[in-house]
Symmetry: C2
DNA sequence: AATCGAAGAATTGTTGAACAATCCGTAGAT
DNA sequence: ATCTACGGATTGTTCAACAATTCTTCGATT
């Protein structure tokens, strides 16, 4: 399974910038087309001319490398790319229609997020978490989430936690396991968001992204998250009641139980 | 001040791999030197042939991009590259003797660590932290450090905290402000290390690296850290005595005071 | 037969060059 | 004095080449 059978979206088409020469040997000196001959190449896909306006509107326009990283992040989250799988530069480069160098830049991003691991001269592999990593991830979560909930938060932020609980309830009613998992992550994300710290939010987002990497194996148990629904409800109620001490303890117990379960599912 | 007057070390010489063609057009087909003719190129700098052995010894051999990132990280920490300064790709590329693409990869690493900020199509700049960022950084520290110290740690790890305290004392005795600052960072690093979590350690390392970015301005006050020596001692004693609750509270008070001071030094 | 090692293929690491797109400062027109 | 067109500088991205390393395969040897 070389990861190439996944349905990659083509990222090269809507790219602003990008030479996209047809392919012939590059003997063409730069003498021609030095002046105002813009977009003169053989009938490449012409992009909408309104792109300049977008730039003026200060819309964040992610670079191709960023979009490649985003795409890979998505496939990682969807479980399309299983842990341990090798990501070949040339394959992804072709599949996504971008250059190998750009893929390389995207890899640097993902490696910084620990989603992939670089083995020098051997390639990058989808990160696979061992038992030690699972404990480590839960340690981070205990530190951050419990501290966050014990600090409380503004009413709107508490409401966001509540919303995540309801989101999970709805997903359970609809029997949508996927949505249930997402709701659970939103719940914990909302707890961290109580602190209103940009850095803590991104740290938490990264940790959750890491967890998605090995959660796919765990979801075989159809009602894996279902047990947590009541826990979330209870925690949320304590939070809303202002009993932060109790909310913290409930959350801590929850995390301990969750870690235990995860450790059991994976070879301990 | 374009950051180019800093004394860059040349990273290109000891590089394993790297074509380093003299410059002429690359019409030389790859037909020649296909077999055993290794290191046949025109008299480039010949590296020690023992490099293969190093690889066999599984010594981590960082890529050039990593070394560029490390070099920049160092200059950032030393305060050679002030916040807000623009880092031009071509300049660094020449200065360090590596290709622009490699510099680019290093930038991706540093951007992921928040040490530099990318402005699309405008370049990368040394990150500069505003008042909000200072508060944010201290929020992260409060969460992680206080949780860590309240969890206690093995005797060896407590000893490491003690060692950092003594290190600071020695630096103060020697009137070495630089060493004093480092000792202080070691102290807080050691506190987080109590938890024994790889991820928390790297998170803390990154946060401290961010702080170094704006600490240089603060160090004008000659005995800025000196006030903290007694705090550290007190915290360490509580930790050693097993009074984790008190240690946590002392640390929390310390962080609050520290944030206040930093906020005062910087605008607002 | 099992093992060792060497030729070969595949892939990564790094470079250099090319060019499109964008940004910025400046000079010219209104 | 303000706006606009022009040019230079720099980033974003691609391509092609090649060195070094790892992986594979296939013989040759004990």
């Amino acid at each position: 399974m070389t990861s190439s059978e996944a349905g990659f979206r083509d990222l090269s088409a809507p790219t602003p910038g990008g030479a996209k020469r047809s392919g012939a040997a590059g003997v063409a000196k730069r003498s021609v087309a030095a002046g105002a001959a813009k977009r003169s190449g053989a009938g490449g896909p012409v992009v909408a001319p309104a792109l300049g306006a977008a730039a003026r509107l200060r819309v964040a326009i992610p670079s191709v490398a960023d979009r490649v990283a985003a795409e890979l992040r998505l496939q990682l989250a969807e479980g399309l790319l299983l842990p341990g799988v090798r990501l070949t530069e040339s394959t992804i480069s072709e599949e996504l229609g971008v250059s190998r160098n750009t893929v390389r830049e995207a890899f640097a991003e993902l490696a910084a997020e620990r989603l992939v691991v670089r083995h020098p001269n051997r390639g990058v592999f989808v990160a696979s978490l061992g038992p030690g990593d699972i404990h480590d991830v839960y340690t981070v979560r205990r530190f951050i989430e419990v501290s966050a909930i014990r600090g409380g938060g503004s009413p709107e932020r508490v409401a966001a936690v509540r919303a995540a609980v309801e989101e999970g309830r709805a997903a359970a009613a609809a029997d949508d396991e996927e949505a249930l998992g997402n709701a659970n992550q939103h719940f914990h994300g909302a707890i961290v968001a109580l602190a209103g710290s940009r850095r803590l939010n991104t740290i938490m987002a990264q940790v959750l992204a890491e967890m998605r990497l090995f959660f796919h194996k765990a979801t075989v148990d159809a009602h894996f998250y279902r047990n947590y629904l009541d826990d979330n409800e209870e925690i949320c109620q304590a939070l809303e009641a202002g009993d932060l001490e109790r909310a913290g303890e409930l959350l801590l117990a929850y995390l301990d139980r969750s870690e235990e379960k995860q450790s059991a599912v994976h070879g301990d």
